[in-house]
Symmetry: C3
Subunit: 267 residues, 3 copies
């Protein structure tokens, strides 16, 4: 299994997938830089007149509703249709949907324009999307519960896709197979954008794999291992420095590190 995960990472570096992202403007720079760091190629294109065409030349589409506005919303409908027609993997990040219920409707409406490959949120967001009571503060999840896997499994079956719920333990399920990932650091919660960056990476990894469940696990393990190293480096206990180190370390994760440090459980 670790071979498969390392294989995804190597494939990203080899193939340099082009990731079309329509994402929030808070962390868009971090998303672009982490995609470059892992070996992918980012392109943020969100004009309503360009999104349909651009998603058709991309290798994956990443949609993040964190600061959705009217034009972004229209662009997402265009992009998801374009990606869908070309069979390009689509990763959706329902940021804030637990605090802003209208985003749940938006996500569901988007799903009628193309099939999601992966839904990735924090546990609070995934619960909200699944109609389960969630504990959140704004865009942050206060939920850490071990019922996460069950919720992922159900939502995966409903949408017919892979579902990822991040947290102290990360849960991934495609409805049948599941992963529990136990790497990471609490420092990732002390900067903005950790979740967005993981979502962008998941899109890059799905672009080079036929197995979105494994590819998502590979993206998250890569991010989590990078986070662990960044937090341990001198100064990495402080958020401003940690943020720079996190990008550094994502560029350095390799199969040896995954083999040695990855805490991955498959069910």
């Amino acid at each position: 299994m670790k071979e498969g995960i390392a294989g995804c990472l190597n494939a990203v570096k080899e193939k340099t997938p082009l990731v079309h992202a329509i994402t929030n403007y808070v962390t868009v720079n971090d998303c672009a830089n982490i995609l470059l760091a892992v070996g992918a190629s980012p392109a943020m294109c969100e004009a309503v007149d360009e999104a349909f065409e651009f998603s058709q030349i991309a290798d994956a589409l990443y949609l993040n509703v964190g600061t959705i506005n009217r034009e972004q919303q229209m662009a997402m409908f265009m992009a998801i249709r374009g990606a869908s027609l070309k069979g390009i993997p689509i990763v959706i990040d329902p940021v804030g949907c637990a605090a802003i219920p209208s985003r749940i409707s938006l996500i569901r409406k988007l799903s009628h324009f193309g099939s999601f490959t992966v839904i990735k949120g924090n546990l609070g967001e995934i619960k909200a999307l699944a109609g389960v009571a969630a504990r959140v503060r704004g865009v942050d999840s206060l939920d850490t519960g071990e019922d996460g896997l069950e919720v992922c499994r159900h939502l995966a079956q409903e949408f017919g896709c892979t579902v990822v719920a991040t947290g102290p333990t990360d849960f991934i399920s495609d409805g049948r197979r599941s992963y529990l990932l136990r790497n990471g650091t609490e420092m990732m919660g002390r900067i903005t954008g950790s979740g967005c960056m993981v979502g962008a990476l998941a899109a890059a990894f799905c672009a080079v794999s036929d197995d979105p469940c494994l590819a998502s696990a590979a993206a998250i393990v890569t991010m989590n291992l990078a986070g662990e190293l960044a937090a341990k480096a001198p100064g990495g206990e402080n958020p401003g420095t940690f943020r720079a180190y996190l990008i550094d370390q994502v560029s350095l994760v390799d199969e040896n590190l995954i083999r040695k440090r990855g805490q991955i459980e498959c069910q």
Copy 2:
């Protein structure tokens, strides 16, 4: 007085206030990261269809017109009304209003949809808002004059709120009581976003205090002390490194530092 200021900082860390920010896209990432660094929870939500509802679940609202566009403008009217109905503190940052007079009209129009708790700008912006001749270059103030306190006091009386004018000396007044703060470093003028970050912090501090004048002073002292430490750290004399260290240091400011280093004068 230093006890009150340290008390505000501790209350932020304890209560993790949710700050709803509609802010410029140049420094939005810095604002989110500095809010996390101080112990608050940032949420940037600016869809015109979401802003009214979201401001009602937040603990404070921060509005910054730095890159105002049409949708943001509409969202601000919605958010300020929502916040006002719930009695949530509202901090407004009139970025660039000295160079772009239409922003003065916008600020005044916004004030009819809800009462500002704090108006925070650099001295040039505060003067422009008060109708006093100001020396600016684009969004930067070239004014350092000691008439700042007088201008703050008048504007505070006009709007019935606290007014903050930042600069080498920071002036704060609620029309009766005033603070003069003399910490800080010229490095804060060598990166973009220092002013925006202070504004976002002021919103977080107002969320946990009944005294906006004191809370604003606490936010600025926290930022200024962090700036002093960041500038003195190895490499902190250079802007790229300073920017990362500033976020680091904001997470480390505590009551001891405020007591030892804070240069705060109350009038």
Copy 3:
């Protein structure tokens, strides 16, 4: 020639030109910080109702279509007209035009509202704009060909302006005189925003010089030399750290460094 280039850099530091930028939201923070680092003053103002007036008080206008949307597009038409009426230098950055052909039409339409001073893109973008076959991946150029100078020269003659094509060798031509610049580091391709930052710097340099060809060369040499130093500093081989160091080093480039390390060929 190196004297002229160093002279531009010194003039920026002395005159602090105000650069009005309407640019993509991925790298806008980097653009603002690098302008401050070199000694210029950034102002990002893109409201359709403000752009005409604001471009008239600025010293240069920088337009970057990287994440163009409808309001930005309208604002660009307003700003370019305003700048043109005042004779303010206009630098246009056709990000992504090789992958998104509608951006070529947009650039050409913009040129009817005001004369460009400089067109700056990577080689793939410049080729696409010139109607020559280009190899790109999204916003990145895969072209390094030595035909770059020829393409720049032709495009410069067509538009009657200076054209810059960045890459391992940077080509600059105003149709008669040309520069080939051979500084830089591959690290600049491992972060997002290198191209945008160079474009923003070019605008600042054009603001203080009557010679846009020389001013563009000065901007690129400044950036490339800073990149070389940043890459060599401890940790600079990693992208997150490199990004901070790059801003640091731009603030430190001076005439001595240009004289000692600049690899500049004039034809």
